[in-house]
């Protein structure tokens, strides 16, 4: 075997002073923070989208989901520079020889496969998803969710493996190694500064999709909260949902049924004649954009009272849409009791645009956008 390809020598051939324990440690800590933030905000999003029996989605604070999901997407985007930089810094370790010096090293290295594969998978699928681009055959949400568990498990192992070496690398009295010239130190500072600047730049050019004051800077954002009919975006048009005819036809009725004392069947005009309630609530999408228009419509609790339902009740809200995952959504008792849970007829003083759910849509506090069901035709009290 020629000396060039001698596996014992490959690692030593990476001569850049950036392949350094301290740079790896700084980036590692930053990634530990961003992955943890994304994991918990993502877990939260999963919980509120599909609450298990032991969890009840709190309707207050009304803007909580907007914040947690905005943080999830912004943190994920800011992670891209950190992750790629870290992988490059430690790339020589891939060629460590012998590959497994001990059982512990073998375990540590095997756990890198789910850590690196999972980490790249999460930021990659997340980035594609906020663009509504799905170049894979599986369900984004399910795959992203389970990949997060796998990655965070691998991260726990990795933190266990690196805890002491990270502390050593960053402690003041860590000995500078042989290649540590002032130039090398400046080089490392410049590199870390560059990665930080890239994260800041990516954040500044995208986070305006949910942070209003930075809207004009959001030139790379896949969605802009000020675009679309009536000044905010849509995820599914009436045409795509196949509701153009049913939503605008004279046969439209809102039915309140299920465990009720008397069933209601109301036209849009009859709904408009009921007491109207106004509120400003965010529509906060899982993809990380949000807008906060003013809604006007009938309180769900008012409708339930007219149907003879007293106190809070769980309600299944059904759309005119025929199929697809988000045709229906659930309202929990705490949500139906909330005065701001509305069947909205108007937004910003205009009748809802058909793409925003005309004749009526559900809007409630602290609900992910996909659960703000559009083109509502039935409330089924459970």
């Amino acid at each position: 075997m020629s000396a060039r390809l001698d596996p014992r020598r490959i690692q030593g051939r990476f001569t850049s002073p950036l392949h350094d324990e301290r740079v790896a440690a700084v980036l590692g800590i930053a990634l530990g923070v961003t992955f943890t933030v994304c994991f918990f905000t993502g877990l939260w999003s999963h919980l509120v989208q599909s609450p298990p029996s032991w969890f009840s989605r709190p309707p207050r604070p009304a803007g909580l989901y907007r914040v947690t999901q905005g943080v999830h997407v912004a943190t994920g985007l800011a992670t891209i520079p950190l992750l790629l930089a870290k992988l490059w810094v430690v790339y020589p370790k891939l060629f460590a020889w012998p590959p497994f010096r001990s059982v512990a090293v073998a375990v540590e290295r095997v756990a890198l496969l789910p850590l690196i594969g999972g980490g790249l998978f999460l930021v990659g699928t997340g980035l594609a998803n906020i663009n509504l681009w799905y170049p894979w055959p599986f369900s984004f949400r399910t795959a992203h969710y389970w990949a997060a568990w796998i990655t965070i498990g691998a991260l726990i192992i990795h933190v266990g493996a690196k805890w002491s070496s990270t502390r050593n690398a960053l402690s003041r009295d860590s000995k500078p190694h042989d290649a540590d010239s002032p130039g090398a130190r400046a080089d490392r500072r410049a590199f870390l500064g560059t990665i930080g600047a890239a994260s800041v730049l990516i954040t500044l050019t995208t986070v305006g999709q949910t942070v209003g004051p930075l809207r004009r800077l959001a030139m790379l954002a896949p969605r802009r909260p000020d675009t679309g009919p009536q000044g905010f975006p849509i995820n599914r048009t009436a045409r795509t949902a196949g509701v153009l005819v049913a939503a605008q036809g004279h046969k439209y009725r809102l039915i309140v049924t299920g465990a009720v004392a008397r069933e209601l069947s109301l036209t849009r005009d009859e709904l408009a004649a009921l007491p109207q309630h106004e509120t400003t609530l965010p529509i906060a999408c899982v993809e990380g954009w949000s807008a906060s228009p003013r809604w006007r419509g009938v309180q769900v609790r008012e409708l339930l009272a007219r149907a003879g339902v007293v106190g809070g009740a769980a309600v299944r809200v059904e759309s005119l849409q025929r199929r697809r995952a988000y045709r229906t959504s659930m309202l929990e008792p705490a949500e139906t009791r909330d005065p701001d849970t509305l069947l909205a007829l108007e937004v910003d003083a205009e009748p809802l645009h058909i793409d925003h759910g005309y004749p009526v849509r559900l809007i409630g506090p602290n609900r992910p956008g996909v659960l703000q069901t559009k083109w509502v035709t039935r409330l089924v009290v459970l």
Binding site: D20, N131, A190, A221, P222
Partner: protein, 152 residues
Amino acid sequence: VTRPHLEPERHGVGFWIAVAIGGGVIVFGIRGAVHAARATGPTDFFAWVIAADLLHDLVIAPVVCAAGFVLTRLLPERWRTPVRSGLIISALVVIVGWTGLRGYGRDRVPDNPTVQPLDYRTALLTVLAVVWIAVVLWGLLRMRASRRVRRG
């Protein structure tokens, strides 16, 4: 032989506790992905995770190393760091803007103009222009500083 910049690890009891906890979480995640088979398509799912690994190790990292190799040989020393920073930031910004630029996503929902509604070509060119103006200014400053040092 120079000491490697990246030291090997020492593994204590804490590591094995982390392996037990983290390993349990990984198993939980893999089980979940397999059980949700209809939605995740576990073969595809695991193939994509491993492919992400391989894509980095076999394509992205070697390309970056090759770029670094060329860069250190082509550029005068004073310009290396600014140009390297410029290239890193440019690549990362392009990664984030690429889907918008290509209209992936928008082409899936042609009747929804609120998906990728912006002019991403102009946006990317603007951001890159700002980045490279900063690179040139930084490089010029470094040149001036080194001239001063030489003059004494």
